[in-house]
């Protein structure tokens, strides 16, 4: 990467660097481009990509703008050294291009991260969070995986999703939410004074259509951890499971009651397909406060 950085700094001294960059890169910055092929494309620094953030210049916030061709990204040559991620953190820009850190971070672009459309993955070590490295990016709640944390990020500021609401009329002890249709509450939607953490998650029922049909409501609760070996997951698509009840899919022989102490499932499970699309035994259950 040192050669890459030297080349990047060198290129800034040329006024025609956009024209020369491919030649320079081809000759001296193999590390920058070896990950790409002709079909994947290449990335070059591009001052036309504005990386000003909140009135701070790109230089002040240690960002460099890039233009890319094909499927290439400036950060897709990330590496791991002794298990420590190493790479750039890049925010994709609405007008094209990327704003990337001008230094190597302890985050790696994760092309196989499971992320919603329009977002992309990073794996970061320890307390590194992409927003602190690159103020132009916005990421979701992290999920710990061994010694790294997985994030899904975007250069577009994340829109507010679900909001907590006491007006839903949920039973005592569970929390009401109102969400745009098609979304469901996540830990990052919780209030700032609520405790959240890596394995914290909400168990939510089949949604109820709100008075405004653009929204759905949920009554969710925070389940304790599924016991080791538990195979049951939330499933909002259990056939015949009415809004407000909890659809659950189990891949093994365990039952929802064994995994979620607050659930009561009056009917036996039936063969079905989980929300993730795999064969499972599906149940329709109710929250119980007893």
């Amino acid at each position: 990467m040192n050669g890459f950085r030297k080349a990047m700094r060198t290129m800034h001294s040329f006024s025609l660097h956009r024209l020369l960059a491919p030649l320079l890169l081809a000759g001296s910055t193999a590390a920058c481009t070896t990950h790409t092929t002709e079909s994947q494309g290449t990335c070059v620094p591009d001052p036309a990509v504005s990386c000003t953030v909140n009135g701070f210049s790109a230089e002040a916030v240690h960002l460099t703008g890039y233009s890319c061709t094909g499927a290439a990204r400036p950060d897709d040559n990330s590496t791991y050294i002794d298990g420590v991620p190493q790479g750039l953190v890049c925010a994709d820009q609405a007008g094209g291009g990327y704003c990337c850190t001008n230094f190597t971070t302890q985050c790696s672009y994760n092309p196989v991260g499971i992320c919603d459309p329009g977002t992309y993955g990073y794996q970061c070590l320890g307390a590194n969070r992409p927003e602190a490295l690159n103020p132009a990016i916005s990421c979701n709640q992290g999920v710990r995986e061994d010694n790294v944390i997985n994030f899904c990020c975007s250069g577009t500021e994340r829109a507010a999703n679900c909001t907590q609401s006491d007006a839903i009329g949920c039973a005592a002890g569970i929390t009401g939410w109102i969400c745009p249709t098609g979304t469901q509450p996540t830990a990052q939607d919780m209030g700032a004074n609520k405790s959240r953490a890596d394995l914290f998650y909400l168990l939510c029922p089949v949604p109820t259509v709100a008075a405004n049909p653009k929204y759905e409501t949920y009554c969710c609760y925070t389940a304790s951890l599924v016991p080791a070996g538990g195979t049951c997951l939330q499933d909002r698509n259990v056939p015949g499971c009415a809004p407000g009840r909890f659809g659950i899919a189990c891949y093994g022989t365990d039952t929802p009651e064994q995994n979620f102490a607050r659930l009561n499932c009056p009917d036996p499970g039936v063969p079905g397909i989980s929300e993730q699309g795999y064969p499972a035994t599906v149940y329709c259950c109710d929250y119980t406060s007893n």
Binding site: A60, L125, N128, G173, F200
Partner: protein, 554 residues
């Protein structure tokens, strides 16, 4: 990158790289360093300072601590006698065959503006109650008397989940004692015991075990706080009372001066916590013989101003706190300002802390927008990690010194905070200013940490099981930390690698500073004048501690 011992080594950032060090990670690497030797071949021999002074009684005799301190209001006083009602104990321990709730609550209700005194009757020295409300009245627990919180969760039931294990429901229970109104007070040389480590009635687990069960998911347990204040409280006072074994936070404070939230004419007009003792756990084993340790007493913060609403114009003075979570956590989820925290002694705990909520904002009646936490003066403080044995499950976070913590899910302004005349011993994190309290949390409430001053601070070593670390981190290039002033700040026996900084503007001097912070986007202005300062002389009091089982070490 590997530590020389072969451990993963996270603290030395490569060129153009940066490392954000969470406290737990730092502790891991530090313990590794301590185990394998020094990270600094040039380090001088370790100086040990292990003395304690048993003449510094806790609490101090009436009229001694804080006397002559011009920043403090006069020490509170006990009510004049005879009081409105005096109630004699009928129990010799925490038996729950009958409860004293109605007896005491009726007296408290009838004595508004006055005081109710709980006294012993010969060997009968105990009361047991469920939820109590102390509104516009003083509850006086006499010396030798213990007021126990009932172990029956139904006494505090709010949502149906109070006392239920495995449920994250922060609103499940009401408080043990709710304070409300104008100048409510809890005083006396007696004890209030929350029985957090004892089995709950109808269950085979304790409040703390219910909380511990949620630790893996950082669930928010709904255990009852020992003492809480409503948002309508003005001028609450806690004086000389001893608090043990709270199921959750010991004291949550929301309070403003009676004349409103925009001014603070006299320190303490908002609230006063003076001369109290918090020791949790207070015993080494519960009635079932189960071992109780500070790290097991999860979420048992000592004193938390601003937890439920704005807190302003407060004094926390002359207290002794040793517990399983933050000694003091100033919570900025609303707005906190004008606090004096003086002449306190801390033992085990997670630190003299700010945060993690710092996002608050409040528009006062004059239209001024106030934010986060500002104008806080902490001085004459000792924090001694060696004050008590802590057992095999102690964690690095049980030995934190000064902490300012937040993250982007709950961050905001922290400004004009001063720490003066501070002594610490055997901390893992001597100073920890972190904007990545939990890096997994997402949000757009970015921490904005500004002026922090550390003056006449000395950290010493006795057992030295880990090397002290200093961490000074801003959030990013657009929200740097600072200015941070370090003036006569001496951390004994630090290694060169034991200071981490990033995104920070730091001023050193004129007094000596025993380390030189550097890191990504760190600007250091060095105004140190050699010979202009002397290390603060540290005297640590002998702090209260449970009887120590033989063979226990830290």
């Amino acid at each position: 990158m590997k530590h020389p011992c072969g451990l993963p080594f996270f603290r030395k950032a490569p060129s153009f790289s940066r490392t954000r060090l969470p406290s737990w990670l730092g502790a891991v690497s530090l313990l590794g360093m301590a185990a394998c030797g020094s990270n600094d071949e040039e380090a001088p021999p370790i100086e040990y300072m292990c003395d304690t002074d048993s003449t510094l009684a806790s609490p101090a005799p009436v009229g001694v601590c804080g006397a002559g301190d011009p920043k403090l209001p006069p020490e509170p006083k006990f009510p004049a006698e005879p009081v409105c009602q005096e109630i004699k104990a009928t129990k010799t321990g925490p038996a729950e065959d009958t409860l004293d709730t109605n007896l005491i609550q009726t007296a408290l209700t009838q004595c508004k503006g006055g005081a109710v005194k709980l006294v012993a009757d010969g060997e009968r020295n105990s009361f047991v109650t469920g939820h109590l409300t102390v509104s516009n009245v003083t509850l006086w627990v006499d010396a030798g008397v213990t007021l126990y919180a009932s172990r029956d969760p139904e006494q505090y039931q709010k949502t149906g989940n109070c006392g239920r294990i495995g449920i994250s429901d922060s609103g499940a229970c009401t408080d043990f004692i709710t304070m409300d109104g104008v100048s409510p007070a809890i005083m006396g040389d007696g004890v209030i015991d929350g029985q957090g480590g004892e089995p709950l009635i109808g269950h085979d687990y304790s409040w703390w075990q219910a909380s511990y069960a949620l630790r893996a998911i950082d669930g928010s347990i709904g255990n009852p706080p020992l003492i809480n204040t409503t948002t309508k409280t003005n001028g609450m006072v806690l004086y000389r009372i001893t608090l043990h074994n709270s199921p959750k936070f010991h004291v949550k404070i929301a309070s403003t001066p009676s004349y409103g939230p925009t001014a603070c004419t006299t320190a303490g007009d908002g609230f006063t916590v003076w001369g109290i003792t918090i020791l949790t756990p207070s015993k080494w084993k519960n009635s079932k013989g189960e071992v109780l340790t500070p790290s097991f007493a999860r979420n048992t913060d000592g004193v938390d101003p601003g937890e439920g609403s704005i807190a302003q114009c407060g004094v926390i003075a002359c207290n002794t706190i040793s517990t399983g979570d933050d000694h003091i956590a100033v919570k900025g989820g609303h707005w906190v300002s004008n606090l004096i925290i003086a002449h306190n002694h801390f033992g085990t705990g997670h630190g003299m802390s700010i945060g993690s909520e710092t996002f608050g904002s409040y528009t006062s009646p004059d239209g001024v927008l106030h934010r986060g936490i500002e104008n806080m003066d902490v001085y004459d403080l000792t924090i001694d990690a060696d004050s008590r044995p802590v057992g095999y499950d102690a964690q690095a976070s049980d030995f934190n010194g000064i902490r300012v913590k937040s993250d982007e899910s709950r961050g905001g302004l922290v400004n004009n905070i001063t720490y003066t005349d501070i002594c610490m011993r055997d901390m893992t994190n001597a100073i920890l200013v972190s904007t990545a309290y939990n890096p997994m949390f997402a949000g757009t409430l970015f921490p904005d940490f500004r002026a922090l001053t550390f003056r006449n601070l000395h950290h010493v070593t006795c057992k030295g099981l880990s090397r002290p670390v200093v961490t000074l981190e801003g959030f990013n290039s657009t929200l740097p930390l600072g200015p941070v002033t370090l003036d006569n700040v001496v951390i004994d026996n630090m290694g060169k690698l034991d200071v981490a900084a990033e995104y920070a503007n730091i001023e050193l001097g004129p007094g000596d500073v025993s380390f030189y912070p550097s890191g990504f986007d760190v600007t250091v202005t060095d105004n140190r004048v050699p010979g202009s300062s002397a290390k603060r002389t540290c005297v640590f009091p002998t702090l209260p501690t449970p009887e120590v089982p033989p063979g226990w070490l830290r």
